[in-house]
């Protein structure tokens, strides 16, 4: 038989107030975990949406068992850095309660280093004799500052040419090479393949395009490098923009001309809003640029799809590889657990992530073992690994590189949408606008 408890309003209010106070005290940093158990909670922030969010969470779930005493708190803010993730991260940083491990865009790393916010991982690397040679040298170099190491790779994501092999063979066009050091597959070969692939109907309307001309900054920047140009004079210690030098101008002009001069690429009115996917899936586009995140879209394609390298030009062969770091804030209360989590992420967890099709991977050995051997389309996945091995084009190390790319992009847009046909005009304007910002964003001397 239940017993009715009589409680006055005053008692009720007292009880409510005390409960709220207890809950408030419990949520103070550290108190809850001390009260609950001796485990040290280590919080990690990612920005993935589905399906990667689930893959990562599943891969990291065994961490608690692998490192007794550490307890993982996994958080993901879907949508990428500019869709709420950075807001959440920076709010936590401003409030003094950042996560213990978090991913940042590589362009933000200089500001974090300048403000001395990150934990130096070098002592942990040395203590564990942790092998950094498994990662791309340039990525580790980018995370290094004054002898300290301030990040570990979250992923190494290469960009490659995805091509419809059936269309190439039907047109008798040379296939993009899958070997980095291949002497063939030059800019001329690329041009000839584009010519063979582009088809028009009796009215002169294009029915099949050879390639994509996208505003994606990493792609036009690669074309700059293929022609021997560069974005700034020295990526690690930039002092001025180099986009108005001959190689850079030539590369951008070639890239824009693929659309406006030769008609190899669809004009904006044919595809700007929808991207390349629809044209590729319907067999109206020969090739486009993307990374491993596009693989799932082509698993069931009714044509043969494969990967190839960019062509080589006066500047050699070039590429771009994303190398966003996972970092640990200096203020973390659980540095050991944070380091263990980084090791676990780049070890057992990464194997699961690669095998489930989540990422390209971080270490070369794991990529070779799991990523390259994946039998599902597209073919030639080793192209991605090759690109990562030969990665030589880091983002310029400036505290305001993100702002500078916004300025560059607005001008490059003019060239790619045909408002301005002369790349030199665009490049000169970029240099004029960007050089003062480079001076503003410098924070260390060589």
């Amino acid at each position: 038989m239940s017993k009715k408890i009589n409680m006055s309003r005053r008692d009720f209010l007292r009880l409510t107030g005390m409960s709220s106070l207890a809950a408030g005290v419990y949520t103070l940093p550290g108190v809850g975990s001390v009260l609950a158990q001796d485990d040290q909670e280590v919080t990690i922030f990612f920005w993935d949406g589905p399906p990667l969010i689930g893959i990562r969470e599943k891969a990291l779930a065994p961490f608690d068992d692998a490192y007794p005493g550490c307890k993982l708190n996994f958080t993901s803010v879907p949508g990428g850095p500019n869709q709420g993730y950075n807001d959440k991260l920076f709010t936590g940083l401003a409030a003094g309660i950042p996560p213990d491990v978090f991913i940042i865009e590589i362009g933000l790393l200089p500001q974090f280093l300048k403000d001395d916010l990150l934990l130096d991982l070098k002592p942990y690397v040395d203590a564990d004799d942790y092998d950094l040679s498994q990662f791309p040298d340039l990525a580790i170099e980018a995370y290094t500052h004054e002898g300290g190491i301030y990040g570990m790779p979250d992923n190494v994501a290469s960009i490659a040419i995805f091509y419809n092999q059936d269309l190439f063979e039907e047109a008798g066009a040379m296939l993009p090479t899958a070997q980095w050091d291949d002497e063939g597959w030059t800019v001329d070969d690329f041009f000839n393949s584009c010519e063979a692939l582009t088809k028009t109907d009796a009215n002169g309307n294009t029915t099949q395009w050879a390639c994509d001309v996208t505003g994606w900054d990493k792609v036009w920047q690669t074309w700059v490098r293929i022609f021997g140009g560069q974005l700034v004079d020295d990526p690690f210690f930039p002092t001025e923009c180099a986009l108005n030098e001959a190689g850079a101008v030539e590369g951008l002009q070639f890239y824009a001309d693929l659309r406006w001069e030769y008609g190899f690429a669809p004009r904006p009115e044919a595809m700007a809003e929808m991207g390349t996917g629809a044209l590729m899936q319907t067999g109206r586009l020969g090739m486009f640029y993307s990374g491993s995140w596009a693989f799932p879209n082509y698993r069931e394609a009714d044509f043969n799809i494969a990967l190839g390298h960019y062509p080589s030009g006066p500047g050699g062969r070039a590429n771009y590889v994303y190398y966003y770091p996972l970092v640990v804030p200096k203020t973390t209360q659980v540095p050991e657990c944070a380091w263990n989590l980084l090791k676990f992420f780049n070890g057992p967890a990464m194997e699961t992530i690669i095998r489930e099709g989540g990422l390209q991977g971080t270490s070369f050995a794991e990529q070779e073992k799991w990523f390259v051997t994946d039998p599902l389309p597209p073919a030639n996945k080793h192209v991605m690994l090759d690109a990562a091995r030969h990665f030589v084009a880091p983002d310029p190390v400036l505290t305001n590189w993100g702002e500078i790319t916004q300025i560059m992009q607005a001008q490059i847009d003019l060239l790619l949408i045909g408002e301005e046909r002369d790349a030199k005009v665009v490049c000169d304007e970029i240099v004029r606008q960007v050089n003062p910002l480079i001076a503003e964003g410098q924070w260390r001397t060589g």
């Binding site: 500019n82 950075n86 807001d87 920076f90 940083l93 401003a94 500001q111 974090f112 403000d115 916010l117 505003g215 004009r267 904006p268 009115e269 044919a270 595809m271 700007a272 809003e273 929808m274 629809a278 305001n400 993100g402 702002e403 916004q406 992009q409 607005a410 001008q411 847009d413 003019l414 790619l416 949408i417 408002e419």
Partner: protein
């Protein structure tokens, strides 16, 4: 009863009355206190803080550094993008606000007649107004697709080859204007309420006097509806100048900054470039610009807005 006793009783009643009033006042304050606390903590304080921040350089990660008027100097004299984005926002507003008012009014007038299925039509026109901004943006991204989109497909039926709506410097602003027209149903409901509040005897009297349809519209409907139109104008200016979601989702300010609306530029400075001080200066300049515009519109109201109550007082 002695005089002294009477006075004592009276003062006791007065005390009781004062105490009752005080209780009522306290209760009223208690009732509004959640809102007041919310306003002070979440609106007033951040506003004052942002005003103070506008004189600092602050990237969140390191302590703020006082820079005086440098942010305002940069905004007006060295950075071309604030004025560029303001110009784009004003052009968009000049096109969008009148069209929204006219279309909203016309649809409301059509739906103020006695036709079959009126409730269904009203619901259909109102539906877009309740959809989330992000969902609408994504939907319109598909509609505007030049190759596969509904809009250009429809134009092709008439032999017109539509432009690259979102990929062209020329067409991107008209695209946003068209898109905003789609959610005209929100204003329509308010016009509809205004139309139904107009006394029918005015129309009957005008009809007896021989007024035709146009005369009834211009001499009765529009004057009687002018407070509603004024309200829609003021809220429309504020809402339209604050356009953000559509451009953030659909174009990210492109191509070549052709859709870089003011708030998107402010957002970039604050949350992508982490220049909180500069973003605060941008916000305050924008706030003052909208405030000034609103004051001007209020000042013009006496020339064209007809308030029946005021008119009765005058008589």
């Amino acid at each position: 009863m002695s005089l002294a006793q009477f006075v004592k009783n009276q003062s006791g009643f007065a005390n009781l009355s004062i105490s009752y009033q005080r209780g009522e006042t306290l209760l009223a304050w208690a009732m509004v206190s959640p809102w007041v606390a919310g306003f002070l903590l979440l609106t007033a304080f951040p506003m004052v803080a942002s005003l103070a921040l506008s004189f600092f350089k602050w990237n969140i990660l390191s302590p703020p550094e006082y820079v005086g008027l440098a942010n305002y100097h940069k905004l007006f004299f060295s950075d071309p993008l604030p004025m560029h984005s303001l110009k784009i926002t004003v052009i968009f507003s000049l096109a969008s606000i009148p069209l929204n008012i006219v279309f909203g009014l016309v649809i409301a007038m059509l739906l103020n007649t006695n036709i079959r299925g009126l409730a269904v039509f009203r619901t259909i026109y109102y539906l877009p107004a309740i959809l989330s901004g992000v969902a609408v943006a994504i939907l319109w991204q598909w509609i505007f697709s030049s190759d596969f989109g509904l809009l250009n497909t429809a134009l092709r039926i008439f032999g017109i080859e539509g432009p690259a709506w979102l990929g062209s410097k020329v067409w991107v602003l008209p695209a946003f204007v068209i898109m905003r027209l789609w959610s005209v149903g929100g204003g329509m409901i308010i016009y509809l309420a205004g139309l139904q509040a107009i006394p029918t005897d005015l129309y009957e009297a005008a009809e007896i006097d021989g007024a035709n349809w146009w005369q009834r519209i211009f001499s009765i409907t529009l004057p009687m509806l002018s407070p509603t139109i004024f309200f829609q104008l003021i809220t429309g200016v504020i809402f339209t100048m604050q356009i953000f979601t559509e451009t953030f989702i659909m174009t990210d300010g492109g191509p070549a900054n052709a859709s870089l609306f003011y708030l998107l530029y402010l957002y970039r400075q604050a949350f992508q470039n982490f220049k909180m001080g500069y973003a605060s200066a941008l916000a305050w300049v924008f706030f003052l610009a909208i405030l000034l515009l609103t004051i001007i519109l209020f000042a013009t109201a006496k020339f064209w807005v007809y308030y029946e109550a005021e008119s009765e007082e005058d008589n």
